[in-house]
Amino acid sequence: MKMSNDFISKLQIYFSYPFVWYALIVGLLIALCSSLLGVTLVLKRFSYIGDGLSHVAFGAMAVAGIAGLTNDMYVVLPITVISAVLLLRTGQDAKINGDAAIAMISVGALAIGYLLMNLFPSSANISGDVCTTLFGSTSILTLKETDVIVCIIMSVIVITAFLLFYHKIFAVTFDESFMKAAGVKADVYNLIIAVITAIIIVLAMNLVGSLLISALVIFPALSAMRVFRSFRSVVICSACVSVFCAGAGIFISIMCGTPVGSTIVVGDIAVFLVFWLASFVRKGRT
């Protein structure tokens, strides 16, 4: 009883700080948005796009740091969007296929970014900045009110776009060729998916860091696919799993002092194992 009272007291103390609420709001929104796109990206065999684009964003951040910009979003977001469009729109006619293109851009941007940060350091603690960007250990807990407002606006745009174009996104995910043959502009919807993906990746870097973004995108979708079969149910389940794991991960990180990004990803892995086990049990019964 005493332990639970002290736990609640500690909880009250920690949640009296506004940045904790900012972290929860932003974390849940980012988790929701990334899970919605995650299903499409996994089915289109672009699971590793999160990693690639996050490394591009890392390189763009290095450029923004050298340029001395106070708000690196002016550089990071456009460069990431352009990269997403190039990667996701190349399609089947590309000379360099999807996974090779992602790998090329990913490692190239990471190397260039780290080189620039070392040649033109914008702070005294380069390794600290790199570590925070790559792993997102506490960056979600260092958000300002303006960051939260920007994130809310972008999340609303992403969710609205997903809801408005749900049927087209469904069609371009499963049968792009048929869509083109039916006269629907599949390229436009691929472009929309690319732009939304870029926005989500840039936002998600604050939550889990560059290296762990792919987990945030793919694990909820893969977990849902173990149990559900229809696109709609997979999307809904993926969203629920992602939001739950993000909320639990942030909560555990705050109470136990663990890094936020990796705690969330470990939660995603645990849920995936549970769903995987559940699929085994279900197959055994049928």
Partner: protein, 180 residues
């Protein structure tokens, strides 16, 4: 594959059930008897110790009640985040008392001929650090000198600001400086 997974799970379950059904050894039984008899004979002592342990637990949760923000009882994630928030929203923290652990560091501004003293707080992986400037409020303590650079210290004081060369700087007006 399914059979392999089920057999592994079955084996693990057997191990767990087997360990639960293990009979306690004679020495374990003696220990349990000793604990029970000790508990039966120390009711009044237990009440006092319960009260003390309750206070200790409360202090562990809330920290030093004489300060508004006790960072010494928080985990590294919260410490780093709160200090970052203090740097960004410093005005919200001015006038609040706090207590913080870290290591001591100094900086000299040769142009002004001034020395600055910091308590540096690393995060859990020690790759990121935050430093809080502090100034000993008591002139006698300040005259005793500051510890060696790198020594672990605890600083207790009030968060305040000063103006130097037209810029606002925030620091801890330290009432206590303890070597850990």
């Amino acid at each position: 594959m399914k059979k392999k997974v089920l057999s592994v799970l079955f084996t693990l379950t057997l191990f767990m059930l087997g360990s639960c059904s293990q009979k306690p050894s004679d020495s374990a039984n003696a220990l349990i008897d000793a604990i029970v008899s000790e508990a039966a004979s120390t009711d009044t002592v237990k009440t006092t110790s319960e009260a003390v342990s309750a206070e200790a637990l409360t202090a562990q949760a809330h920290g030093d009640p004489s300060v508004d923000i006790d960072l010494t009882v928080m985990n590294s994630t919260m410490i780093y985040s709160i200090i970052y928030d203090m740097m960004i929203n410093a005005e919200d923290y001015c006038g609040k008392s706090l207590m913080v652990d870290g290591y001591f560091d100094t900086m000299v501004n040769e142009a002004l001929g001034a020395s600055y003293y910091f308590v540096v707080i690393p995060d859990a992986t020690a790759c990121c650090v935050q430093g809080l400037e502090f100034i000993l409020g008591d002139p006698e303590k300040a005259a005793e000198g500051y510890p060696e650079t790198g020594k672990d210290i605890r600083v207790k004081g009030v968060f305040d600001s000063y103006v130097e060369e037209g810029q606002n700087y925030y620091y801890i007006k330290a009432d206590e400086l303890t070597l850990l």
